[in-house]
Symmetry: C2
Subunit: 305 residues, 2 copies
């Protein structure tokens, strides 16, 4: 169970609102407070019925948590509060600055950002108690956006990377791990450099590839899409994601993304050369290797769920 | 309705068996005969209960159709029979040769091959009545294989390209169109060159991209896959398809596939350069263009279903 008197979710879009629904569904009985920027989003979040309070002010939410008085019988660990940043990467600097104005040593901070090096650096620079920050990347999402699309089962069975630093407080790490485990995630601990390289390959590169595949298929005359079917639909699905969010991600993880795109170009070039020279053996090895790796991964993933 | 006294489906794998199930489900009352190479596959096909007969012999199936005597009241158009090649591209030459030994002018032939130039050329060269051949490419499939995975709804709402030539018989074209419409497909008529270019972009390129994406993500150490999630799953799903079938497809549509892979490399290179020089505007245009094209396509597709 989650031993915190309040969970403050900053950003009540799809991920933030789903997290609120999920922890409530899993039996968390403390306060859940949402912070949003737009009144319309807050109204939609309110309709979910899982937030105790919703506000546009980070200060108000965090000061509200500090004011909660629990009986001593709850023990020291229950006295902490947890803030989760669930806003696009472009807003992190602003939100960390706001948190820094009213953070006490009982506030544990985590996030759902898709890259971790830039986030960990901001936390180190801006938070008064950086040892209480633990980076997280729950690998769950959808092309849908906003609280209206929130889903208590969004995180179930999916991996969540947690990226502690040398100085990270053990209790803070423990609490953040228990948050993701509570909502059904498989927690994987990595350092932020490993995370950013891996996520460039399995998330950022697939997004770039899906978007560029749509562009390649539409450059000529667009008629080709008339006969596109389920294979095209699956391979390009993520290209319907929010361009603004992905622009932030690509820029925040620039070097690892560039490396992964170069790798992809090399693989496609090997494939092209093998077809051009009619090297059936090489083509077969490439296709069979990909199928074996994909099938093996799918099997492991299903077992983990 | 389908005005043919027999439909002979040569190849009782996923597509062939699904087609038999589908035309029966849609009320076709003539004979459905399946031709397979392996006894085990024929046994599985038999269990579907939609075939009147199953055999390993093309001759036997086609001669059986010729022997059906219908009353004159059925009209001339009901006296034709239809053969559908639903085998991998590598077997087409062999099957056309077998058909040529016992084809009469009442036999209309079509296929489900993923490329059309090579198939149309073989039909022209090998069939005694090439005007009775109409190339088809039903854009439906699954990573699953074999008659056990057959699904009467596989074709519903999907596009099917039909590629008549100048000399194609009008009645043959009409019958083949009515076959695909019967099973719920949206029929699109194109010449085989247009088809092969378009299908390279929206089907063969996505497959190559999905496979090479898996290879790019696994070249280093494979650990990256530990944190792969639904975005990776969708983008790479087709890489689990049968390597042998795809090898045939890539080779049969070699030139168009090479062109489409070159286009993809160009798009990825533009993307890489834009990130490298920090050109936010260009990146944004690429991502927004892809999203708009993908969303527009998805909307049209849902309306068509």
């Amino acid at each position: 169970m989650l031993k915190a008197k309040q969970v403050t979710i900053i950003g009540t879009g799809l991920l933030g609102a789903s997290l609120a629904l999920a922890i409530r569904a899993k039996g968390y009985t403390g306060r859940i407070v949402g912070v949003g920027r737009r009144v319309q989003t807050l109204d939609q979040a309110r309709e979910l019925g899982c937030f105790d309070d919703l506000t546009v002010s980070v200060d108000e939410a965090l000061e509200g948590a500090q004011a909660i008085e629990l009986p001593d019988s709850e023990g020291a660990e229950g006295q902490v509060h947890l803030a989760v940043l669930a806003v696009p990467l472009g807003y992190f600097e602003d939100v960390f600055t706001k948190i820094s104005r009213c953070a006490d040593e009982k506030l544990i901070v985590t996030d759902v950002g898709s890259t971790k090096a830039s986030v960990c650096e901001l936390a180190e620079d801006l938070l008064p108690h950086p040892q209480m920050f633990v980076g997280s990347h729950p690998m769950a999402g959808s092309e849908q956006q906003g609280p209206a699309a929130a889903d208590a089962g969004l995180f179930e069975g999916k991996p969540c990377v947690v990226t502690p630093e040398i100085q990270t407080d053990y209790d803070a790490l423990g609490l953040v791990q228990s948050l993701w485990k509570l909502v059904g995630m498989r927690v994987i601990v990595m350092n932020h450099i490993q995370h950013d390289r891996a996520v460039a390959l399995v998330s950022h590169l697939p997004h770039a590839v899906a978007s560029m595949l749509v562009n390649a298929a539409t450059t000529d005359d667009g008629d080709a899409l008339d006969i596109a079917s389920s294979g095209f639909a699956d391979t390009t699905r993520v290209a319907s994601g929010d361009p603004g969010i992905w622009l932030d991600i690509f820029q925040a993880n620039r070097d690892a993304v560039i490396n992964s795109v170069e790798k992809m170009i090399q693989e496609l070039d090997r494939f092209k050369k093998a077809i051009t020279r009619g090297d059936t053996g090489a083509l077969k090895r490439m296709l069979e290797g990909a199928k074996a790796a994909r099938d093996g991964w799918e099997t492991n993933r299903k077992e983990a769920e």
